[in-house]
Every structure is written in structure tokens, then in C-alpha cells.
Symmetry: C2
Subunit: 415 residues, 2 copies
């Protein structure tokens, strides 16, 4: 490992930030002073407007409006209204995305609906080392539906593992650990060539990189509200069903809000026309209000510029770390070029204590077992000086061996 | 229909309220002035402390703590910590209740887990006219699991419909429309006598009436956070699994947080020991903070006194309405005596416009198709003067025929 570019200086970083047209977006988040926050891919920071939004929902809508707010404040339409906002971030039509439940639950709904519709194709094909909940939900479904089988193969064997028994190709677009991205259009085409549907997990893509579900021909997708969409801890997830599939898929989680006429209180489930059939229980209004704050900020940004900037931050971080930390035990995991997310991962044999020490220095990334240091670079609120500070702190921690000192971890644990 | 007691006067109602030791709890909610809120069984009112709690979670925990709050602020333990609080309200042990997902999703998890564990008993027996989501979720599961069958029979035929094919007796403890309550212990015993498990939906019971899951021998239960628990719109639901069953039941929604070691990121699902295996996705922290505010208020109250007061309010409302509204087309639906919830329903041929007119008068109840006016009487924040005002308004609306005037509905629709 070695640096291939000139080291980023603090002055150069500041100059880049000063010239950045996206810079004002940083002020729309409440970032704690002194912290370089590189874990927005686990939990995005607090949008300043989210606080007032929540207060308004609580005091005016819940407090004063009470039950009337389901119609008067439009609560009942939140899943479709917010879904339409997410749709604009993932290249879908308004009527193709719903905000509801968690990513995991949404995944179950779509997997089950797809397999149920194609009983002669009982195999879910996915990547070994995919994000665990994706694999686990598929395994849980396989225990429930006789004959259903989860086939996990290495990334490079996916295309050859497609056959006429595969009903769903389930892939995470940007890998949570490595940041490597699939070519969504190519893999979707491969699935279609074998008669399978493609279900994409966008948890590390939506709001991080360009996603064009419609143009890629994607069939189904799910994603997460609390990472790059900055929707708050445990924000609701989302789901996408291409319009052409909506009428023939049915969610097994046949909750009352997915009924064609929920307020008729009939004894027999009749799915709503269109996407609403994928609703289940009552929408979490407080969580949705916070998520909408995050979505609104992102929708204000020039997303081409935003995604380009995130990539530039990743490049700058890789260069700076390689220039400063050569010989200190780091190995780049994320692709140096080519399709990837807005995140950079390095392997280090002592990744866990190194990350704890780094957090104690005010640079918050995260650790993914067994040995990965992961750093997220959402261009919406980060700049090049953050890159400089993070690389400097990483160098200092590694070069000093400070991470071997338990006091670091102790400090980290209480901050 | 006719009154059997002296009409409640406003003065008498005020005297009862003045002598009520629970009266101070009313001030712990932000009730809009001039409104008599009798729909807390659909959406409980805003606890005053919920606003500060949410602000604290947003600003200090999310804003400043960021990802660190999953451990430092105990977010990761919210499902079990809040579950233990709910447990105290439903007669369960701390380690038997989780707060997670929605009531509907929790129902699916438990139904599927129970049926999977007893493949020779593929029938879900439930009541015709049960709350729709209960029936629909069972129907959705039946479409997924071959052989599973949903048997719906009238309330009086439930006991005789139990046979050796029934795996789960699924009942809502307090009926959402009529308020009638089952004898939980007796029906659970009947289920057990036939080798079935009893799954109770406590949506209209928890926080409304005494519930003793443990003493009743109940196997499984789910419930709602936003009704009598005052947890806010779309608050997370809860689930109960008797300790004796936890090791042998597995949730089909095998999400990563239900894994024995979620942060190992292994490729194979291994359920956690105990109740945590019923977790799925990431917990909705904002919704949970609001729910905890509601739970904490209720845990402060003398619940024997609270439940007795709620029943007294129901009795007083029935008496007052019968004394004032004789011959005006109302028919009592709720049991006059015997086990029932904290709610009173009357049938009226023009129930919908009558309720709209009543709402325009500032008395908020709700309408349940086709003809039911439903009024909730949670003793935590209502008093006898509210009963007097509601009965007076109902008399006025009915006697004047004002509900026939579309202007009423228009006013109601905009408030």
C-alpha cells in the first residue's frame, strides 16, 4: 500500500470546502462540535428541521388534533406521500414506493409475495456475506414455505448460479462491509434472462449513490430510512414494487391497512389495488415525521453534484490514508475505482480497538467484524477538512500505538 | 331503553371529580381546551412529558450521541426495557414481553411460530367479527403455509369449535366494537383442554382493564401501544410469549436483531435464547420514547383504582344516555354488566352523521361501520363531568336532529 497522490493538506482541504456549492447543507444538520462523523451510513445525523417538525406533529397534530389528524393532518397518507419522495431518490415512479415497517419486514413481504406468485421457482439466490438480515429473512421464509430454498454463493458465482429454479435474485446494491456496488441493470438483466425477479436492498445506496430502479428494470426493492436518508434511529424502511407487478403480488402480511376498504371492517381480506396492498399495520407517524425531514433536505440538493462529491471524498480519504498510514497495517477493502457506495473500508488485524481509539479522538466510524474499519462519506454534511482530520487521527492512532492503551477504549465507551 | 337511575347532574359530576384521587393525572396530558375526548381507545392523548422526552432523545441522544447512543443511551435495550414496563400492566414477567414492530406484524410472528411448532394442528380458530387485522393476518399466513386454515365462528360457538386440529385459539380480549370481554382464564383453559395454544390480542385491554396473562395461563399475546397506553400515533406494538414456550417457538421474521449474536454478521440465522428471538429489524427509537412516556404515567397510577374508575365512568355514561336519550334511536351494544372494556358503544341507524355532529359539538368519539357510536372512558384523564358533557351533547344532537344538517359534518370535517 502506498500513496499515489500528493498528501491532502489542511489548507487545500479548506479551499475545496470553501468552493463547494453543497457546503450550506452542512448547516442543516446538528453535528456535535469537535466530532468528525463518518458513521452516517449506520445512523445519519439529526436534521435541524426534524426537531421543529416533531414538535409540531406532537403538539398540534397529536396533542390538539388527536384522532382527527389521521385525515386532517394526512397521517393516513404518509406511507404513500413519503414513498413518493423516496421514489425520486431511487429512480422510481411515485406510485411504486411505500414507506412502512422496517427494512427486514419489507423484505419478508416482497420475498414471500414473489415466491408465492411463482411456485415452480422456489429458490432465493443471494450473495454469501450479504447483510445478515437479508439472508436471515430469506431463511425464515424458507422455514415457513415448504420447498423454498436459500442459495448463497460468492459474488462472482451469482450469474452462473441463476437457473430455472430461481424465483428471486436478492442482492444488496452496495455491500455494507466492502462498499462494492453491483451493476444493477446488468444483474437484473441476468435475473430476467433466467426468468427470475430481481429484489434489491438499497440500504447503503439510497441517498448515497445514483439509483435508477426503473431504468435498470428492477422488479422489487427495499431500503433503510436511518442511514443515508437521515431519518433517525429506527426510522421506517421503504419498499418498491414495479407497477407491472403490483396487481399480481400479494403480501403475506395482510394487515388491515393493506385492505381494499380498511374501514369496512370486513371479515375477509381483500388486497387494495396497487401498492397499498403492501401496507400492514398503522404507520409510525413520529418516525415518519423525522424521516420526512431527512428526505426533504436531500431532495433540495443537486444530487448529481452530491453523489460526485461523496465519491471525491472517498477518493481523497483513500489517498490521504495511503499517503499517511503506509506500513501501519491497513489494507483497502473498498474498490479503488469502479462502482461503489459512499463509504470506504480498511481491514486492520486489530480493527476493533483501533476504531475505539479513533472514536476517542473524535472521529466516529464503525467496526464490522471481524476486522473492518468502515468510514461513511455522505457529501451532504461532510467536507474535505473532515477527510483531512480523519486521516490525521487515524495516522496518529496507528503510529502511536495508542489503541493498545485500554484508556482509549474507556474514553471511547463513555463518549 | 330507559333510565334506571337518577340523571347525573353537572354538580354531582363535579363533586365526584373533586373527590377523585386520580384527578391529578388529567394534568399530565395535553388535552385541547373545550374538547371531551372519548376516543382514547383509538389514539390516546399526548402525555405532557412525551414532548420533553422526544426533544431529549432527538437533541441529546440522536444529535449529540449519534451512533454511540445505541449503547450509551441504551437504545439497543429498548424493546426489552419497555417490554418489562408493559409486562407490569398485563400480568406478565419482565422477560416475557417485547415492544417491537406493529400489532399486526407481531401477530404474524406468533401465529406462524405457533403453527410451525405443531404441524399436526393447522387450524387457527378465531371469532367472526374479530378486529380485521387479526383475521387478515391469519388469512395471509394461511396463504403462505400449506394446510393452514382459518376457522371463524360466532362468539358463542368458539368453545364447541375447538378440536384436535386447532393449533391456536386467537381471540381479542376486549372486542373493539362492542367492548365485550372474554373470560381469559376460562377460554385459555378451554383451548388447553383441546391441546391448542391461546393467543390474546390485548389492543383494547392493556391499560384499560385488569389483564393477568400469567394467572390466566395465556400462551401468547400481542397488543397496541397507541390506544390506552397513550404511546402516540402508530406507536410500536408489543408481544408476549410465556417463558415456557420461548425456547421452542421461532419467529419466521428472522431479522438480524433476533439473532443470537447480531454483531457477528454470520450467514446463518441462529435465534437468540429467550424472548429476543422475536425481534426483527431495528427498533423505532422515537416512537418508543413517546410510548415510554405513556407507560410511565400509567405505571404511576393505582391501577385497581384506575380500572374501577373507568368502569364507573362507563356505568355513568350508560345511565346518563339512557336517562336523557330514551326514544332517540340508540341501542346499547356494550354489556350493561359483566366483563367489558373501558368503552361504551351504542347502535344508531344514522351513526355516522350523528358522530360527525357530536364531534362538531366538541365531543370526540368514533364511528365503527355500519352503525356503531363508540365512546372510550379511560379513567386516567377523564372525569364524571366529561360524562355529563358527552351525554348532554348527545341528547342535544339527537333531539334537535341537528345531525341531519350537513353543516354539522362540514364543521366536524375541518376541526
Amino acid at each position: 500500500m502506498g500513496g499515489t497522490r500528493a498528501t491532502l493538506t489542511r489548507e487545500a482541504a479548506r479551499a475545496l470546502d470553501a468552493a463547494d456549492p453543497l457546503r450550506p447543507f452542512r448547516d442543516r444538520f446538528r453535528l456535535p462540535p469537535g466530532v468528525v462523523y463518518l458513521d452516517g451510513n449506520s445512523l445519519g445525523p439529526l436534521p435541524a428541521i426534524a426537531v421543529d417538525r416533531l414538535l409540531g406533529v406532537m403538539e398540534a397534530e397529536w396533542g390538539d388534533g388527536l384522532i382527527r389528524s389521521w385525515s386532517a393532518a394526512g397521517w393516513i397518507d404518509q406511507p404513500t406521500r413519503l414513498g413518493a419522495k423516496v421514489a425520486r431518490l431511487v429512480g422510481a415512479d411515485d406510485e411504486e414506493v411505500l414507506v412502512a415497517d422496517s427494512t427486514s419486514v419489507n423484505l419478508f413481504k416482497l420475498l414471500a409475495a414473489a415466491l408465492k406468485a411463482a411456485p415452480d421457482r422456489p429458490v432465493i439466490l443471494t450473495e454469501a456475506g450479504n447483510f445478515p438480515t437479508d439472508i436471515y429473512m430469506a431463511q425464515g421464509l424458507a422455514e415457513l414455505m415448504p420447498g423454498v430454498e436459500v442459495r448463497t454463493v460468492g459474488r462472482d458465482s451469482l450469474a452462473s448460479a441463476l437457473d430455472e429454479r430461481v424465483g428471486v435474485l436478492l442482492l444488496t446494491h452496495v455491500h455494507y462491509r466492502t462498499g462494492e456496488a453491483f451493476d444493477m441493470a446488468a444483474m437484473t438483466r441476468a435475473a430476467h434472462d433466467h426468468g427470475a425477479l430481481a429484489l434489491w436492498d438499497l440500504s447503503h445506496s439510497a441517498g448515497a449513490v445514483p439509483v435508477e430502479l426503473g431504468a435498470a428494470g428492477a422488479d422489487l426493492a427495499v431500503g433503510c430510512g436511518y442511514k443515508f436518508l437521515n431519518g433517525g434511529p429506527g426510522a421506517p424502511g421503504f419498499l418498491y414494487v414495479a407497477r407491472r407487478l403490483q396487481a399480481r403480488l400479494r403480501s403475506p402480511l395482510a394487515g388491515w391497512l393493506g385492505h381494499a376498504a380498511p374501514f369496512d371492517f370486513a371479515d375477509t381480506y381483500q388486497p387494495a389495488d396497487g401498492l397499498k396492498r403492501f401496507l400492514c399495520g398503522t404507520p409510525p407517524i413520529l418516525g415518519m415525521a423525522a424521516l420526512e425531514a431527512g428526505l426533504d433536505i436531500m431532495l433540495d440538493a443537486d444530487r448529481d453534484a452530491l453523489f460526485a462529491k461523496s465519491q471525491a471524498l472517498c477518493d481523497a480519504f483513500i489517498s490521504a490514508v495511503e499517503a499517511r498510514c503506509g506500513g501501519l497495517g491497513l489494507e483497502l477493502v473498498t474498490p479503488r475505482t469502479g462502482p461503489r457506495g459512499a463509504q470506504v473500508s480498511f481491514r486492520h488485524a486489530d480493527g476493533y480497538p483501533v476504531m475505539q481509539a479513533l472514536i476517542a479522538e473524535g472521529v466516529i466510524g464503525d467496526f464490522r467484524a471481524p476486522d473492518v474499519l468502515r468510514f461513511g462519506f455522505p457529501g451532504l454534511y461532510l467536507g474535505f477538512e473532515d477527510v483531512w482530520r480523519a486521516a490525521s487521527a487515524l495516522q496518529q492512532v496507528l503510529a502511536s500505538g495508542g489503541w493498545r492503551d485500554p484508556a482509549y477504549s474507556t474514553r471511547a465507551a463513555v463518549t
